[in-house]
């Protein structure tokens, strides 16, 4: 399901589905299904969620959990529930995963559960069929998903074809599973100031428009504060003008391309991850390297061209060693 959502957000277009936020549905129980130790005092717990519908019938109910506790990280906060008739209890179809630091007690009150779904006869909320869901508007952002962002950079979502609800409580946003409580809201834009942290930034947004339809956005951005200065040279150490592309090894679609003019360049905003560098010289030369941002501050990229073919018509030794420079002793035999 997440991959489908990622495809949608990759196009930086998120539909406003016809699903509503469903306050009449609430979590009643978390059923532990699996636990796994992932660090000293750190465990990942997988839960099925039981919820109760005290309102009208609801179709294709989806749930989301966020955490406000410092010792709880939401690893997978989305879970499908399915159809819920009025006054029914239902266990989620899939699970949610919480990483809990056991050095502090687990406080379920720090978790917030929210639900979306549609009444009978209306399309449901984002699912595997998300692309086909009815759309009444669009969320978009000018923040490039496929380049490196600055740490503490701001992030804005714009809505077209609808207006954001005026009440902030109808907005839920999270960064890497933690609730983002500070934002400025206007009818057509919501801005999260100083949002990005170094590394991966998983942004999830739930909200209502002014007529109560729900909006949803889910995307991963990468940000960093490390930089590297570099030059591009040929095999003789002579600077070579080249286009240089820096790619994030975790997701090679995240890139930054600069043009090298023969003077050392400084490129910034890399997270502390492995960065792959590829240089394409103006005369077709090519070179590549890689570095770990933060542990290396400079690099020299050596590019090489493709030499002309050797002027030797006897490359297959059909004429013995004619045209070859042979030193030492030995036997050369052409195998059938």
């Amino acid at each position: 399901m997440k991959s489908a959502i990622a495809i949608i957000t990759a196009a930086l277009l998120c539909t406003v589905a016809s699903a509503d936020v469903l306050p009449a549905i609430s979590k009643t129980e978390m059923q532990l299904e699996l636990s796994q130790r992932v660090g000293r005092g750190l465990y990942e717990y997988t839960y099925a969620i039981v919820q109760e519908n005290q309102g009208d019938d609801a179709l294709n109910v989806m749930g989301m959990v966020t955490s406000s506790a410092s010792n709880i990280e939401v690893i997978d906060g989305q879970f499908g529930v399915g159809d819920m008739p009025s006054a029914s209890l239902r266990t989620s179809d899939d699970t949610t995963v919480l990483q809990i630091d056991r050095s502090s007690p687990f406080d379920p009150q720090s978790l917030t559960f929210s639900y979306t779904g549609g009444p009978p006869g209306v399309e449901g909320p984002p699912t595997d069929d998300y692309e086909e869901a009815a759309s009444y508007g669009a969320l978009s952002t000018s923040t490039d998903l496929y380049t490196f962002q600055s740490v503490n950079g701001s992030f804005a979502l714009d809505v077209s074809g609808a207006y954001f609800a005026s009440e902030a409580y109808q907005i839920t946003a999270s960064l890497n599973g933690d609730l983002v409580e500070s934002f400025s809201l206007s009818p057509t834009q919501i801005v999260f100031q100083n949002l990005f942290v170094s590394g991966e930034n998983h942004v999830v947004f739930y909200g209502n428009d002014d007529v109560g339809s729900s909006m949803y956005f889910d995307a991963i951005f990468w940000a960093g504060s490390h930089s590297i200065s570099f030059s591009v040279v040929d095999g003789n150490g002579t600077p070579v003008m080249a286009d240089v592309t820096f790619k994030l090894s975790d997701n090679p679609k995240v890139t930054k391309t600069v043009h090298y003019e023969g003077v050392t360049l400084l490129v910034t905003d890399f997270p502390a991850r492995t960065i792959i560098v590829e240089a394409q010289g103006e005369d077709g030369q090519y070179g590549s390297t890689a570095f770990i941002a933060g542990s290396q501050t400079s690099a020299v990229i050596v590019v090489k061209g493709i030499d002309a073919p050797a002027p030797n018509s006897n490359l297959d030794f059909q004429n013995g060693t004619v045209g070859w420079v042979v030193s030492g002793s030995g036997t050369i035999a052409v195998q059938p």
């Binding site: 636990s35 130790r37 992932v38 056991r102 007690p105 687990f106």
Partner: protein, 116 residues
């Protein structure tokens, strides 16, 4: 869920660290004692004494052997089992069992002597 509470480490072997994580009924999850070292080497076949854990036993019957797990540095379980109960209990009706000595490693992590 186990039937222990109020875990306390009374002593740990030299150069071994012992951290206590209390049971959490709201998860729900058992408590455990995490024992590890970055300084000492526990060679193959070698035994080590000196870990002493105190806890309240809330069960209505005699306490049973406690589970343990041994992890590698990637937190994969390389060994698991149960401790052997070596101390008899004179008053099984009481909920507090004192002085149990080396009950065993509830959760331990062995690590090579390599010093980071």
């Amino acid at each position: 869920m186990g039937k222990t509470s109020n875990l306390v480490v009374l002593s740990a072997p030299l150069d071994w660290q012992a951290d206590v994580y209390q049971p959490d009924l709201l998860i729900p999850a058992d408590g455990f004692v995490d024992v590890y070292t970055e300084l000492a080497l526990l060679a193959q076949g070698q035994t080590l004494n000196g870990l002493s854990v105190f806890f309240d036993w809330t069960g209505s019957t005699l306490p049973v052997a406690q589970g343990f797990e041994i992890y590698d540095e990637q937190w994969n379980i390389v060994e698991s089992g149960y401790t052997t109960l070596k101390v008899s209990v004179d008053e099984p009706s009481t909920l507090l069992l004192l002085g149990i000595g080396v009950i065993g490693l509830l959760v331990s992590r062995l690590k090579p002597s390599k010093i980071k």
